[in-house]
């Protein structure tokens, strides 16, 4: 993809009358995509630390068998809120923040298409999490039914804070839907002249498809929590067999949302890796078109696989087979992607700066998560793995070493563009190596725990699991501490450091690198001509 701009230098002059406002109100009232992107990213990082702290509580309790530190009910609140915070508070807002910062710059747009709604979709999020987190301090405690809030745990047996949980999830959903509408409209309508569909950077493509998934399934989540609300408070029996409903119906509706949701949390990662790998291999991406089609296939298939989360609920055999085969089909487009990344690196002039290290680690570790997913997809085998630590290992490989690693890689890759400074490469590498070692100590042994039969979401366990759990917990604490290095790198990079050139990475491609670093407050007030 070749992109040129004819008026890069004008942009710096054009925005002298439109600089950022001063003080805190700049952030509260802003309609600027970069400000809002920054808000999303910081919010996501704070949520990452809060959710991480809860994970530390979980690992501390599981350090030894027996009940040591917390009550079982509080342990359940920790697993529940950890999941909710990480999914809806850390990973999804991080991607939306990246979308806000990058998509207008990548497609040559002046801003997001609907800037005021953009502000709204961010600012309702902190309030949603204020409500959710405040329920930790309520009488009866926070939600304790797992982030998947299966009925009847969330209806008959749930704490008083369930209604607050329901409404906070409603707000999170509204935020995601508005954010997604903004992304789609921006991409469809605000591309610079000449930025044709098959010239779009893959991050833009993957986000376009992610946004479609968000608009399609977040309303279904809203419907699910609404039915939980009416079941608990208004006497309905959607999920109660005594009234003609079915608790398994909850799982069907929830996972109809939930499975596309897990692709929502990985497709933008694919876009990020597809930007970083070519830049540091100094070769164009191998198989651009096949990447686009693979992303679209994954998105379509994601609607046909939801019941692989429910193999042990007693579905008819036909359904088990259908969902098993559909799930295994997803390995095909995903394999295309992994192949393309590796082929991009093949005979490239590779260097391994921090973003590339995270990208390479992503490719290897995400693939491990993908393979354990394939194992789980095989119905008869899943009967053994279901609800064990094998599942926990699987989804943490795809979410931590997948989604989170790609977000970290993206942060290092674009930090020079955002701040105008180079980050500290030594600290960045230290962060990477600490993270990649500790994360494997943390999650890899969980596979063995699961295969040996340790159930998930239990504060106590049989003594035979004690030694491996200790190793896992040590990995967990180390991984948690390693993220403080990341915080240090980011703060240091914002406050100073070597001046970043417009294009700090030799092999980087894309319109965002034609803008000076830091990028001017308004990106492309006049659209560039893309050739």
């Amino acid at each position: 993809m070749t992109t040129t701009t004819h008026d890069t230098h004008h942009d710096a002059h054009d925005d002298h009358h439109h600089g950022p406002a001063k003080g805190i109100m700049r952030w509260v009232l802003t309609t600027n995509h970069k400000d809002i992107g920054t808000l999303y990213l910081w919010f996501s990082f704070i949520m990452f630390l809060i959710g991480g702290a809860m994970a530390m509580v979980i690992r501390a309790e599981l350090f030894q068998p027996g009940l040591q530190l917390v009550e079982p009910n509080f342990f359940n609140q920790m697993t529940t809120v950890h999941g909710l915070v990480m999914v809806f508070g850390a990973v999804m807002p991080a991607f939306t923040g990246l979308a806000n910062w990058l998509i207008p710059m990548m497609i040559g747009a002046p801003d997001m298409a609907l800037p005021r709604m953009n502000n709204w979709s961010f600012w309702i999020l902190p309030f949603a999490f204020l409500i959710l987190l405040s329920s930790l301090f309520m009488e009866g405690g926070a939600p304790n039914f797992g982030w998947t809030f299966y009925a009847p745990l969330s209806t008959t047996y749930s704490p008083d804070s369930t209604a607050l949980f329901v409404f906070s999830v409603h707000i999170m959903g509204m935020s995601s839907i508005m954010g997604a509408i903004n992304v789609i409209v921006t991409i469809v309508n605000l591309r610079a002249p000449g930025m044709t569909w098959m010239k779009l950077p893959l991050f833009v493509w993957t986000w376009l498809i992610t946004a479609f998934l968000l608009i399609a399934v977040m309303p279904v989540l809203a419907g699910t929590v609404t039915m939980v609300l009416t079941d608990k408070y208004f006497g309905t029996s959607f999920f109660d067999a005594a009234g003609g409903g079915d608790p398994v119906m909850f799982q069907h509706i929830f996972w109809f949302f939930g499975h596309p949701e897990v692709y929502i949390m990985i497709l933008p990662s694919f876009g990020i890796i597809s930007a970083i790998v070519p830049a540091f291999a100094r070769k164009p991406l191998f198989g651009y078109a096949s990447m686009v089609y693979a992303t679209a296939s994954i998105a379509i298939l994601s609607f046909l696989v939801w019941a692989h989360h429910m193999f042990t609920t007693g579905m008819p055999v036909f359904a088990e087979l259908f969902f098993m085969y559909c799930t295994m089909l997803i390995a095909v487009p995903t394999g295309v992607k992994v192949f393309n990344w590796v082929a991009t690196m093949w005979r490239g002039s590779m260097t391994f700066e921090t973003p590339m290290l995270f990208a390479v680690a992503f490719i290897i570790l995400f693939t491990i998560g993908g393979f354990s997913g394939l194992m789980l997809a095989i119905t008869p085998v899943d009967f053994q793995y279901h609800d064990t630590y094998f599942v926990v290992a699987h989804f943490h490989y795809v979410l931590v070493t997948g989604a989170i690693f790609s977000i970290m890689g993206a942060a290092y890759y674009w930090l020079p563009k955002w701040t105008g400074h180079m980050y500290d490469e030594k600290l960045g590498k230290l962060h990477f190596w600490c993270s990649v070692i500790s994360v494997n100590v943390l999650f890899f042994p969980m596979h063995f725990l699961g295969l040996a039969g340790m159930p998930r979401r239990i504060p106590d366990y049989a003594v035979q699991f004690a030694d491996v759990n200790q190793i896992v917990s040590i990995g967990g604490f180390a991984f948690g501490l390693s993220q403080l290095i990341f915080l240090a790198v980011v703060i240091k990079c914002i406050r100073g450091g070597a001046k970043a050139p417009a294009k700090p990475w030799e092999g980087a491609e894309g319109l965002e690198w034609t803008l000076p670093s830091p990028a001017p407050y308004h990106s492309f007030t006049t659209p560039p001509e893309v050739k």
């Binding site: 406002a21 839907i177 309303p219 279904v220 959607f238 005594a242």
Partner: protein, 291 residues
């Protein structure tokens, strides 16, 4: 090509979104505590909920006034207009998926959950052990635990309502055609007729609900038939209410002389929304009432 892309209007700072965020926070926090207090006693949360609704209404009026002023002063380009149209279409798609969740529940309950409780497929023992006297018949007038109710027929009020709403889609389309021809008189007439049809629909639905609650014993709590009936028709009724308010605002804007032959996004959006609500009703009528 360049003219298509010039002067995309990026609004400066705005206070409406943060006000909307605070409003939503008050609604969610108030409602969350309100439903809890409804069940377990206590009071006060209702006022937070009402305050939130007031803030949101104030915000909506202010925000829309802001947008209308910008539109009337010619700040918007045709590209901006496309953004709005696409945004509205995707919003309606999200609404479709919201209803899909409840239709999904209806289909699952009717085709799977209830037959299985009656012993269908490989569930003979479920039936035998749990509720051996339960009969799997839809509409589910007797639930497994014995709650009894009556099913709502499709003739009478629901049929009249279907005719009202279908007609209103046509009258709104006539209003749109009149707007595009510049015939303001016909526009006012057809838009007014549409609003009256929408309000009559709501009135009749209120009567249907009263009838169900007081005479038929059909309530929100009467098993999965009542659940799906009231959530589907209730959320639909809520959307008709919002749509009617939308159309009433459009009516007053028409009286003030807003909208031109080639610049009437708000009218277009209101009309799309109304047609969408109409299609949802058609699905409701078929799947909830007739079948």
């Amino acid at each position: 090509m360049t003219s298509k892309h010039q002067n995309y209007y990026v609004p400066s700072q705005s206070g409406w979104p943060i006000m909307g965020a605070i409003g939503l926070f008050l609604i969610a926090y108030g409602a969350g505590n309100f439903v809890h207090q409804m069940k377990s006693g206590g009071s006060g949360a209702g006022y937070i909920l009402l305050a939130g609704i007031a803030v949101i209404l104030f915000m909506l009026v202010g925000w829309f006034r802001n947008v209308i002023d910008e539109s009337m002063s010619g700040l918007y380009s045709s590209q901006m207009d496309r953004s709005f149209r696409q945004g509205m279409s995707w919003f309606i798609f999200s609404e479709v998926m919201f209803f899909a969740a409840f239709f999904g529940a209806l289909f699952y309950a009717r085709m799977v959950a209830v037959p299985w409780l009656g012993g269908a497929s490989n569930n003979a023992m479920t039936h035998e052990v749990l509720w051996p006297t339960f009969e799997a018949i839809w509409p589910l007038e007797t639930t497994p635990d014995g709650t009894k109710t009556q099913a709502m027929g499709w003739y009478g009020l629901p049929l009249i309502n279907t005719i009202l709403l279908l007609t209103s889609s046509f009258t709104l389309h006539f209003a749109h055609l009149a707007l595009e021809k510049g015939n303001r008189g016909a526009l006012k007439l057809w838009l007014g007729v549409t609003i009256l049809l929408g309000l009559s629909f709501l009135g009749l639905q209120a009567e249907e609900y009263i009838h169900a609650y007081t005479e038929m014993g059909l309530t929100l709590a009467s098993g999965v038939y009542g659940n799906t009936f009231f959530l589907l028709t209730g959320f639909h009724g809520l959307h008709v209410t919002l749509g009617s308010i939308f159309l009433i605002v459009l009516f007053f804007r028409v009286l003030k002389g807003h909208f031109s032959i080639d610049n009437h996004f708000a009218f277009q959006a209101g009309s799309w929304y109304w047609h969408f609500v109409d299609v949802v009703w058609l699905c409701l009528f078929v799947f909830v009432y007739v079948l």
